[in-house]
Amino acid sequence: MEITTKKYKRCDLVQASGRIDSDTAPQLAEAFNAIIEDGRFNIVFDMDDVDFISSAGLRVMIDVQKTCKQRSRGEMVLANVPDRIYEALDLAGFVPLFKFFDDVVDAVGSF
């Protein structure tokens, strides 16, 4: 898995590629935590190049969303979620917990 982050005026963009499983999920958590520790709680997670995510990865996403949404200080939105990953989120009942965008520009612009 590879992760890149970009800082915008009103939000931060996190792009991951490859597999997010119990092996790589801690790296993803670290990338999100660096943003949160910076006091920034509006995050776009671009999943276009993620080809696999397990419950360990979903756990990271839920933890980030919980932290961002505390005291309504922000939220994480999702961009370019592949069909298979959307189905996994749906199976877990997590779809209502996120806003979904088909495009990173729209997602960034939503903040």
Binding site: R19, S54, S55, I62, K66, E87, A92, G93, L97
Partner: protein, 141 residues
């Protein structure tokens, strides 16, 4: 291809990618469609994570043996470990209606396995734990 052959992987999270590739190849060979191949990868990933975390109680404490059997109906995956047995009935199902603040992830792996596969069967004997999972080919189009 590799039908019935057992592959042994060290019980650590860095093995998950290789185990995933191994079962994905078998699933493709068995003629499963892309959605079913992904389901198999997910179910096996969750199962192996549970073996490492719960049966072995951590990484590097034992191996995971993975055997794929392909037949006309689809794919059967057998995972064997030498860790502690556990009672799958004791794992509560996740609450799918939880709000973000009450949302917990415990039990999600087992829930995924049961939802994604056509059969999930645990067996605990003196020779270790055996998990058998079956994914059948779609017979209707």
């Amino acid at each position: 291809m590799n039908n019935g052959k057992t592959h042994t992987f060290p019980g650590q999270f860095s093995s998950l990618a290789a185990i995933g590739e191994c079962v994905a190849r078998a699933a493709e060979t068995a003629g499963l469609d892309a959605r079913a191949v992904y389901a198999v990868r997910m179910a096996v990933d969750e199962a192996c994570t549970n073996i490492i975390e719960y049966a072995y109680g951590g990484e590097g404490r034992g191996d995971i043996e993975c055997t794929c059997h392909i037949d006309d109906e689809g794919l059967t995956i057998v995972l064997h470990d030498q860790g502690r047995p556990f009672d799958p009935e004791s794992v509560p199902e996740p609450d799918r209606d939880a709000t973000i603040q009450e949302c917990k992830i415990g039990g999600l792996g087992l829930y995924f396995m049961r939802q994604l596969m056509d059969k999930v069967h645990f067996e605990f004997t003196d020779s270790g734990n055996t998990l058998t999972m079956v994914k059948r080919k779609e017979t209707t189009s």
